[in-house]
């Protein structure tokens, strides 16, 4: 079986002063071995919470209130903390956005790299040190032996992110989740890190979930793309389908807001308006208040995910017409 991760109808909510609010509202997706799925969407649309749900690392006021998460055929939502802990850093690894704060400032790079190896693979300190040197070398860090004794603040942001990647890959996980791994880095370093993840993915045959709000990153690394808006999946498709034939108005908006290098005057046509609050109930399609194509129906009824091809789906009433056209065309 090729399927690594299958998330079905995931709902994640938070206990807040305003009551129980859902940040992820019925999200489904899957990742195959050796495949990169990009999750894109504006900041605050629920990308991180979706991935943290998979890791079982939600903030203390958050919980998975519905849905299933299957990893290599095992259900994760019913596992207890200790069972999840044994998977984390071992079978499923995660890289975070802020390389400046994601490493513990008071422990050496060596200590932090040895940790997953000693915990999951039960290596001795000496074996773990050897492996740590190999890992640092693998992620392109020069002079790995001396780096082991250094502390995070002695390294640049790009180097720290490489250390994070080395740490995440230490136990050869089958799934790597990267939450905006390059957002905090400058452009050249960003490209290097993305290349590195791509190379390692090919070498190790991992599945990768890459969270980003940057369509440029998507174009570079994605096999498939999942677009999220306000806690929901609004469009999924292969990278070609999403870039060449985006169907959801929100996806088109995201693509249009990518700065165009060839034509700097025509850039940043950002989507007007902003994300609704978690507490804001919206009737019909959650995007309709910002949608330039909103119809009466959009304000009344929530659209289903329309199948456009075997891999391409869009949650928008605009597809309904085309959908029936196609159906009647095939039936006649």
């Amino acid at each position: 079986m090729n399927q690594l991760l299958e998330v079905n109808d995931l709902v994640t909510s938070f206990r807040t002063a305003e009551g129980k609010l859902s940040a992820v509202r019925g999200v489904s997706f899957s990742v195959d071995k050796g495949e990169t799925l990009c999750i894109v969407g504006e900041s605050g649309c629920g990308k991180s919470i979706t991935t943290l749900s998979v890791m079982g690392l939600l903030p203390s006021n958050g919980e998975i209130s519905r849905g299933s998460i299957q990893f290599s055929g095992e259900e994760l939502t019913t596992k207890n903390e200790e069972e999840l802990r044994k998977l984390r850093g071992n079978e499923i690894s995660m890289i975070f956005q802020e390389p400046m704060t994601a490493l513990n400032p008071v422990f050496t790079i060596g200590y932090q790299l040895r940790e997953p190896l000693m915990i999951h693979k039960r290596l001795s300190k000496r074996e773990a040190t050897q492996k740590a040197i190999t890992l640092l070398d693998q992620v392109g860090i020069p002079h790995p032996v001396s780096k082991l004794k250094q502390f995070p603040h002695e390294l640049s942001g790009g180097m720290r992110q490489r250390v994070m990647i080395a740490m995440a890959l230490a136990c050869n996980p089958s799934l790597l989740i990267a939450d905006e791994p390059t957002t905090a880095l400058d452009v050249t370093i960003q490209a290097q890190i993305l290349d590195l993840i791509d190379d390692l993915k090919a070498d190790l045959g991992m599945g990768v979930v890459m969270v980003t709000h940057d369509m440029g990153v998507v174009a570079e690394v994605a096999d498939r793309v999942m677009v999220m808006y306000a806690g929901e999946v609004v469009e999924v498709g292969t990278v070609t389908e999403i870039f060449e034939a985006p169907k959801h108005p929100y996806t088109r908006g995201l693509l249009a807001s990518v700065p165009n290098i060839d034509d700097p005057d025509h850039s940043m046509e950002a989507i007007p308006g902003s994300l609704p609050n978690l507490s804001e109930e919206i009737q019909g399609c959650r995007f309709h208040p910002r949608c330039p194509f909103a119809m009466d129906k959009c304000m009344e009824m929530e659209p289903p995910l329309f199948e456009l091809s075997s891999e391409h789906q869009s949650k928008c009433w605009l597809q309904e017409v085309k959908h029936y056209d196609k159906q009647s065309a095939t039936s006649s």
Partner: protein, 313 residues
């Protein structure tokens, strides 16, 4: 690091000059004449003049100060007005009691304060958290002498488990430890409470840090996340509080020594102030100031050991 130590020692010398000057002046300018205390109520004016002559108190104050400092620089802290004992030997015989009391109280404060604060933070709003924060608030508010008196009433008078006072036996004997328990709790409680509050609040901040999530994402065991990854970071501000509390504790020994009839430096100082025994007052004040600076130097060194981002060079 060496630079830090040298700098601190230079600061200490300046500080001691300043403190000795202030204490010297305030002792001489404050009402109360040592000669009349030594001479007693029956002494005549000429008796007093003779006593002043003998103690050198009839010279100008500044001359006396300069003489005193010259002596201190040669390691001579002068002689008690009351019994002519050398001040350094008086301090030497009293100091171990005070030192043991202060260290024992600090240990009590740290051993109770740090774990209580950490557990409170990891179980925020649990019954443990609520009761320990309440006890901590009480611990800060309760006056030393009252707590000491209560402990004596319960454990020494009622239950007769522990001695009422004194600190004569060496601390490594069972008897010595029994003598040390109540004074150490009396003196350490307020510090334990302050350390617990500080540990709790810094820990609450640290467990929300990104690197804690990273540790969990690596599969580090929950206990190691708290007591290794978080604790080491949370301890950085707590160590400042511990250092400050040591000064606070030194002050507290004065009252605690009175309550438990311990012949320490605190009692020596109080008696000397009452008797206007200038050299003894000076000597004890200089000792406390030196201790305070040394403790803060140790705190700075511990800082650099715990936090690799700190470098003193």
């Amino acid at each position: 690091m060496l630079g830090l130590i040298v700098r601190r020692l230079l600061q200490l010398v300046l500080l001691l000059f300043g403190i000795s000057f202030l204490v010297f002046m305030s002792m001489h300018l404050a009402p109360g004449d040592p000669a009349s205390i030594i001479g007693g109520p029956t002494a005549t004016e000429s008796d007093l003049a003779a006593i002043r002559e003998e103690l050198g108190l009839n010279r100008p104050v500044l001359t006396q100060y300069v003489d005193y400092i010259a002596g201190v620089l040669h390691g001579d802290l002068g002689y008690s007005f009351q019994n002519n004992q050398s001040v350094s030997s008086a301090i030497m015989t009293r100091f171990p009691q005070t030192f043991n009391l202060a260290i024992a109280s600090m240990i009590v404060a740290i051993l109770i304060g740090v774990p209580a604060g950490i557990i409170s933070a990891t179980k925020q709003n649990s019954w443990f958290d609520v009761s320990s924060t309440t006890v901590a608030l009480a611990g800060i508010s309760i006056p030393n002498f009252w707590l000491g008196a209560m402990l004596i009433l319960i454990f020494s008078v009622q239950l007769q488990w522990l001695p009422v006072g004194g600190l004569s036996a060496p601390f490594w004997t069972i008897e010595g430890m029994k003598q040390l328990i109540l004074p150490a709790i009396t003196l350490g409680t307020a510090s334990a409470a302050m350390i617990a509050r500080m540990s709790r609040s810094t820990m609450l901040e640290v467990i929300r840090a990104d690197y804690i999530r990273t540790a969990r994402a690596k599969g580090v065991r929950k206990r190691a996340v708290t007591w290794v990854h978080a604790l080491r970071n949370a301890m950085i501000p707590v160590i400042t509080v511990i250092g400050l509390n040591f000064g606070f504790l030194l002050g507290g020994t004065i009252i605690t020594e009175q309550v438990f009839a311990i012949n320490g430096v605190g009692r020596l100082m109080i008696d000397a102030i009452a008797a206007r025994d200038f050299p003894v007052v000076q000597g004890t004040v200089l000792l406390v100031a030196t201790l305070f600076v040394v403790v803060n130097l140790i705190v700075d060194i511990v800082y650099a050991v715990i936090d690799p981002r700190i470098s003193y060079d």
